[in-house]
């Protein structure tokens, strides 16, 4: 099965841009989380689910909610040296914005086990979007590496 994301060459010369998609909003968010992990690790299947984290996040808009989720992955990469794969995720409307609850699992960075790529510095707001398409949902993200 091909991954539900694709890296884009035409945006952001020095950084990493990708689009991620899914039939539902949740699937598109999961795909974007995998694309972020895949920016740091060549094969995300090498990341075993040994440690777990739960994220409860909220934002005024869907794209900023995705920013918050991906930012958590970048944070834990440095703070706990953890590579995380988001495995379960639910989004609901809350007042004028959105709320997200996600469960992520992964393990400590081990260059012997995880073929490493680039260190993601940050999630940018450049061209950031989450939108509904005729076939589902699509997100575009630029990561600073």
């Amino acid at each position: 099965m091909t991954a539900p994301y694709r890296y884009l060459e035409e945006i952001a010369t020095a950084d990493v841009a990708f689009e991620a998609w899914g039939a539902t909003m949740e699937e598109a968010f999961l795909a974007a989380a995998d694309a972020t992990l895949n920016t740091m690790v060549e094969d995300i299947r090498t990341v075993s689910p040994r440690e777990h984290r739960v994220f409860s996040l909220s934002a005024d808009s869907l794209d900023l909610l995705l920013f918050e989720l991906l930012q958590e992955l970048v944070y834990h990469k440095d703070a706990d040296r953890l590579l995380l794969r988001v495995r379960d995720l639910r989004i609901e409307e809350a007042g004028s914005g959105y709320r997200l609850r996600a469960e992520a699992s992964g393990e400590t960075i081990d260059p012997g086990k995880h073929p490493l790529l680039a260190d993601v510095k940050a999630v940018t707001l450049h061209r950031l979007s989450v939108e509904k398409t005729p076939s589902g949902w699509r997100a575009v993200v630029v990561l600073d590496v």
């Binding site: 890296y7 884009l8 060459e9 035409e10 945006i11 952001a12 010369t13 020095a14 950084d15 990493v16 740091m40 690790v41 060549e42 005024d60 900023l64 920013f67 930012q71 970048v74 944070y75 990469k77 440095d78 703070a79 040296r81 590579l83 960075i109 260059p111 073929p115 490493l116 790529l117 680039a118 260190d119 510095k121 940050a122 999630v123 940018t124 707001l125 450049h126 950031l128 630029v142 600073d144 590496v145």
Partner: protein, 485 residues
């Protein structure tokens, strides 16, 4: 996007896009480049630099250096000076890697003396200066002490034994930007940074052993004043920043600024990455104080790395680093915002100067330079690609139009994904070794992304800065050993 049709040629290296180009532009945009570099600029530079020209309080011109390329918000190579009373501060004008910069260290060794021990030097440095995704350094301090460290900058490092007192005066801002306030920094930023002192990072960050060949010295007097005195003298150059700490500070405030800009200050910008707040506002001042902590973290990071390099050379050659002449030439920062005093429209004015992928390049005699460089102008360290070479430049009197700012590197010309498709890391390593450059990398695909052809020609960029009167060439430095992040 092609070069805008309304661009005006001011000289053969200065191009201006007038305020009539786009609604909301407050000042013209100026691009410093030869015609060849200008026509090769990637999509987005023109759009982004003209967006910068719409920011409240911008004075003079929104400028882009010859190594400019597409960034987010500001282009890389972007420069904007703001009126500190009426203007804004924008984290997007500084970048996520706050105080990403370059440091250059001398040795009194020649390439002949270093060559037999090159592998050993590179391998040991790679072991002592951790690089790659999420790496930790060897300096163990508590979270609380880290908050103290980021207020003190390199002064803490030197006091703790990581360097020499003279390193401080040979660092921009003396290695400590005054006014850093760690209470403006989130716990998350501390979590990400407190174990990362002395680490290189990844992407375009590197540490290089280089050679100054006699034929590559452009100005012998200045080279001598900078410490380049021997034929084939070996030097060490490295490029890195404030690591996860700075990245988190930038992220935290980007979030705060996006909310405050729309709700509280009613500022509209063409791109959310240009999120900004009035400099004098609580948000603006909090960010400025937190950003200074990240600036200082970066100085500390490079100070500790310098110390590790001295340790390794000392072990390999069995001599004291002082005896090996391992003096620091300078440390320059290329992602900052600083309050500086400049002559503007005939009178001295305080300005908030944003530099994103652009280097301060003070001319001779300017305040802020250490005595040793008062006559020469500021040393400017410009990193090229790992295959082609780098430069040591000097600041000049004629750079007032860019508030004494020049380029920072050769500038990417090819996207990372495209470079990865075109080059193979292992193969590249072998090819470079055949050409006398020994490389160690934390990531093969990361190495491929940094291949020489992924960058603009560094000679063209540097020549453009000289012709435009922004800086002048002193020495071209060739890589012989490289640790890639």
């Amino acid at each position: 996007m092609p070069v805008p049709s309304d661009i005006i040629r001011i000289s053969d290296t200065v191009w201006e896009i007038p305020v009539s180009h786009k609604a909301g532009m407050l000042v013209p945009a100026r691009i410093f480049a030869t015609e060849a570099l200008l026509s090769a600029f990637d999509d987005g530079v023109f759009e982004q630099i003209t967006n910068v020209a719409t920011l409240t309080g911008i004075v003079g011109h929104a400028c882009c250096m010859p190594d400019g390329h597409w960034g987010y918000g500001f282009p890389i190579g972007g420069l904007a000076a703001m009126d500190p009373v009426h203007g804004v501060i924008s984290p997007g004008g500084i970048g996520f890697d706050i105080n990403c910069g370059m440091r250059l260290c001398l040795t009194n060794l020649t390439y002949e003396e270093v060559r037999p021990r090159l592998r050993s030097l590179v391998d040991r440095i790679a072991g002592r200066v951790p690089a790659g995704v999420g790496v930790e350094g060897t300096v163990r301090i508590s979270r609380d002490e880290f908050r103290h460290v980021v207020e003190q900058g390199s002064r803490w490092a030197v006091k703790s034994g990581f360097g020499w007192k003279e390193d401080l005066e040979r660092t921009e801002e003396g290695g400590c930007l005054a006014g850093a306030d760690a209470s403006r920094v989130s716990e998350k930023a501390v979590d990400r940074g407190y174990r990362q002192i002395g680490t290189l990072g990844s992407g375009n960050h590197y540490l290089e052993i280089q050679v100054a060949k006699a034929e590559n010295v452009f100005d012998q007097d200045t080279a001598r004043d900078f410490g380049i005195v021997l034929p084939d003298q070996v030097v060490v150059m490295f490029h890195c920043g404030s690591r996860g700490f700075g990245h988190q500070v930038a992220t935290d405030y980007l979030r705060i600024f996006v909310a405050a800009m729309h709700g509280k200050y009613r500022i509209h910008v063409p791109d959310r990455e240009l999120a900004c707040a009035p400099f004098r506002s609580p948000e603006g001042q909090d960010y400025f104080a937190a950003m200074k902590c990240a600036v200082n973290m970066s100085f500390v990071n490079r100070q500790v790395i310098l110390h590790r390099i001295r340790e390794v050379f000392s072990e390999v050659f069995g001599r004291d680093p002082k005896d090996l002449g391992m003096r620091q030439v300078y440390d320059v920062s290329h992602n900052t915002a600083k309050i500086e005093r400049h002559d503007f429209e005939g009178k001295p004015r305080e300005l908030l100067v944003h530099r994103k992928g652009a280097t301060r390049a003070f001319g001779p005699g300017m305040p802020g330079l250490p005595d040793v460089y008062r006559k020469t102008g500021q040393p400017v360290i410009l990193g090229g690609s790992m295959e082609t070479g780098s430069y040591l430049l000097a600041g000049v009197d004629s750079a007032a139009s860019t508030f004494f700012t020049t380029a920072h590197g050769s500038g990417r010309a090819m996207s990372r994904t495209a470079a990865r498709k075109r080059f193979r890391g292992r193969q590249l390593q072998e090819q470079m070794e055949e050409r006398g450059i020994y490389v160690r990398t934390a990531s093969w695909s990361g190495l491929a992304e940094e291949a020489g052809p992924a960058y603009k020609n560094v000679d063209d960029v540097v020549e453009a800065t000289e012709r435009a009167g922004l800086s002048r060439r002193v020495v071209r430095l060739l890589p012989v050993g490289n640790v890639k992040g």
